[in-house]
Symmetry: D2
Subunit: 345 residues, 4 copies
């Protein structure tokens, strides 16, 4: 396939959930991507322009289709915004047909099927495809992504955590095994299905932790990629909280510096790691806040405080941007040899 | 029954929805009411102190029971926070046993069973009890409430509308048949059952109308009591909107003054009507806002503007306070000859 | 000036208020516009990439400058997000230099300097330029915009109102002089300057009217352009409300149909008026809601209800999109003969 | 003074800020307290019933006065909701006249004037009165409060932290010097004065840390009282965050258990400490959430997770309830030998 002047034909499976809608938003302004199909079980038949007003000409004439129809459309790449389990099955089929797959579910994030079974309660539907998948944390895996058939787009919480921690762990500036991540997330991160605790009059004017400690499914994902970075087994403590806002994740990360490490080493390390990265910004002054990065593909990092060998790191992303669909489009660009920021401004 | 030094034994059927919980809050501090039972289908068995923290000693030792159990408890008055249809059946049974019933559903608000059938799609379960019921708009029906076996606690939207309009219609200061009510309501008014449009990430950062014109079930209720006040048939235009907040209703009401009426007549009329009313406040300057009346039993009225025979009235309440549970407690006080503000500060 | 392959050099005066920031966002992805300068009194000297993260390469190397510096930069078009009064002075100077001016303030919206004095309390700083200015309601004035030196970008409330009403008034489907507009706006519409009633803990969980009736400065603007459309003097009743959300305006508009007009005529009229317009959408079913159009340049219109000669119209926009900066960019495209949707997806 | 049947005459200095208004709310329903005066510099002259609608008869006839006037009113107890510095001066004067003072500012919380100078940048205005003051954390200092002339009502963040930590530190179940407190607070905690970062359109849809590590003025207060509990110098790490909601503080506290301590020991210790306390609730299952305790004087504690010697504690209060005015009323009750829950339901 040649991509010089050609457009890339992309499809979005599960286009009417929050990550799917955000993909449509980004792809609508992507100069090289052509949306050839978008599926939705509940809204099949509706016009894309009706469902997503203001997204411009690219959606003209398109209607939402069923997943089965989407699978039959000729496409170069397919984004999967499907429930875990189903996603792996669909992804394997598409990858088998030679299509590039960018999977926003958790199905290909953990290379170990035993771990998958432990956390998702089912056998991985196609473990034979795990080897063809690459973890899609763009800044650290772009060489592998370029060659992968399936990109496992990272979880929102792991993205914010790993962008802060991976360079520090690799450089051995922090004790990898005493990391505490206190995460605050907007409600779109919890998905579009109505549930009692996501009901407006319950979630509004409320802040509450959930799945604390090591109970959230993003824990093994964070552990796995920090373990790779550290070269030895890492286990983090992770406590997510729901915040009454639509979008945004802020992670306040408490770490111990390794002996001899000075606080400024953290900043130097981050600056070196991200000097050429358009989507990771190291703040010189001020602290990250979710509103600054809302509706963008940016992660902002800040060193909030450090004393006596302890440091407080802060990482902010839009859970639907760098934490999901923004990064997915970034990975599309990597997969097809395009300028990495296309469609992401 | 003697009420001098005695306490009134009250029960709350459906105590864990929003109006039920607000009743528990008010009753917890009511000096004459003793909560003898509270029911919840989904949470039966749980301790009231666990479900409603900080409500004090009155809840000590009480557990949520099933509706059937509640019906067997000796009580002087029972508040019904049940779905329409079911509420009438339960209310009739309780009233038949001589208990006073304060029904927060719509079942006894419309005296005409044909109208009930038209708007609720079912035959009224016990039309024979409609005559024993009284509309519970405290300020205008307290004499009847005192003698009623069943009090039909008004709807939230009608309460805000009628408190603004009834005195003006009675005094023939406004043309009763050209009233436009633009209502804005917080989300607790829509109940506790999760629904797609009430999902936080859908309802937040959104304002939207629903059931516009004459489609909302509160329309016949407003019409009925304005018709009574006017002495001839009245039909309003009513457009409710959902606002991303927990509590509060603000109604902006557009009316035509009758010939010869001056804007100040509106204020005079309101002041005369509510001079002795602790729970209706006519603003001398400034405009009503929902936050001023949130968590209270107060309705604030303001004349926003008038020119050329048109006037803009504004009415604000807490939909769970004067719009539901606050007024229900006010009606309890009326029913039992108590000082009307007991428990409502 | 030739615009075929050339880029348009644009400057933004007042870039760090809400409309300025939104302009930066749109211009960052505009394929033909080059941002050559952006000013901010309070943040002059700061890098644009720091102030506006995630807006891509176009901002690279740019720093916020003072207004005086901005005025000296060679530019083809300048957007003014300045206080009224100052805006006219700056606009006149820039227009005198032959630059195209898109003024987001109110200074050139009212062609009559006496009206300006009445509503803004000062003499218009440069009434001689009023003739060179054109009202920038893109869908109705694009021929004049194309030839104008100064575009008076419409107010947010008037945009939502006029898009709903102008075609109906022109076609004489509604009585132009009995229009009631009940408007609900997010808080960004009130600007970035901290004020007591815009303080989070005051504005949150609150809905309140302000400047009701005919007191708001957008009233003469709505009247003026409806008067033009009607061919006779029109005065509307307009009551704006603040809603606890960042963005969005929803207007519920109560109108009387002219004799013989049927509700479906409203829809036909709208459809005819906007058939070729990418940024005005007439809903076939469902009702407008602000969230659908948030972060877009779209206006959605719906006929909510009609009976007995009265109709309820609903119009929704993003106050920062079609209500300000989106429409400003649309007007830029018109001014320079570009495809009207450039940068607006 | 005899309190059997007598009422306590109370005054509130600074009644129109958020803590002052909440005091008025609680005192309005307090059966033994009579509000004799309330001051407000900005709103002096206004009727209390107008400023605080729905608070009942106790406010009837009262007008806001200036601080000077308030100081001349005969009162048994005065609540001070004044800026630090001013509060100490006023408090000393009142205490000198034999009035009981409940100070909601920080002025008497730190017994060491050097520490006060370090954190507040001024010399303490009346260090000679520090000895007459008692820290007002009701559950742990009620014996001293009973005898104190001045009660230093605790800060909101310290209240939530100390209620979780003091019993555990006293029982040596946790390592007092490795405590990390990640705090999330609603915006009313930041006061009523408009500031850029508290502007609705800035604070809404945003979560951000501030004063991280050991920079917040509540840090020395937490340290001081943990140091007392531990019997040796303690320094915590404390990172507060602003959350887009009106009320509520949730603290997620990361601690190391001392050698030999089992997670259930934490629960046992809390249960023993708070078995008789109506306002501290130890959750058996589920996790604290701010909405459960909003508008109450309750603190809810939960053990979220524990493994490998680390435990995650969660503490939730209403910052205006137990975190300020609720606890202040609790302290009033203690001071005057009343039942501790009076007025607090």
């Amino acid at each position: 396939m040649e991509h010089g002047e050609q457009t890339i034909r992309v499809a979005v499976a599960g286009a009417t959930g929050y990550t799917g809608a955000e993909l449509i938003r980004y792809l609508s302004r992507h100069p090289k991507a052509q949306i050839v199909a978008a599926s939705s079980e509940s809204m099949a038949g509706q016009e894309l322009e009706q469902v997503f007003p203001g997204r411009g000409e690219k959606l003209r004439g398109l209607r939402l289709v069923s997943l089965e129809e989407l699978l039959c459309v000729a496409a170069d790449a397919v984004f999967l915004c499907l429930p875990h389990g189903q996603s792996a099955e669909v992804g394997a089929r598409l990858a088998g047909e030679g299509k590039k797959v960018i999977d926003l579910s958790a199905d290909f994030r953990l290379p170990d099927p035993a771990l998958y079974r432990q956390w998702y309660g089912i056998d991985h539907p196609c473990p034979e495809w795990l080897g063809a998948a690459c973890y899609g944390l763009s800044e650290f895996y772009r060489d592998q992504i370029r060659r992968a058939q399936i990109v496992a787009n990272p979880g929102c919480y792991p993205t914010a955590a790993l962008l802060a921690l991976v360079p520090l762990v690799r450089a051995r500036l922090i004790e990898a095994n005493t990391v505490v991540i206190d995460a605050k997330s907007g409600l779109s991160g919890a998905g579009k299905t109505p549930k009692p605790h996501l009901h407006f009059a319950e979630a509004n004017e409320n802040v509450a932790p959930y799945s604390p400690g090591r109970m959230h499914r993003h824990v093994p994902e964070i552990d796995w990629y920090l373990t790779l970075a550290a070269g030895r087994k890492v286990q983090v403590i992770f406590v997510p909280h729901l915040i009454p806002m639509d979008r945004g994740i802020l992670e306040t990360i408490y770490v111990h510096l390794t002996s001899g490490t000075k606080p400024e080493d953290v900043l130097h390390c981050w600056r070196a790691a991200y000097a050429q990265e358009p989507f990771v910004r190291v703040l010189e002054h001020g602290l990250p806040a979710t509103k600054r990065v809302a509706w963008t593909n940016v992660c902002e990092l800040g060193l909030a405080w450090s004393e006596g060998g302890v440091a407080v790191l802060v990482s902010a992303i839009d859970n639907l941007g760098k934490g999901a669909s923004g990064q997915a489009v970034q990975n599309l660009n990597i997969l097809f040899g395009l300028e990495e920021g296309l469609g992401l401004v």
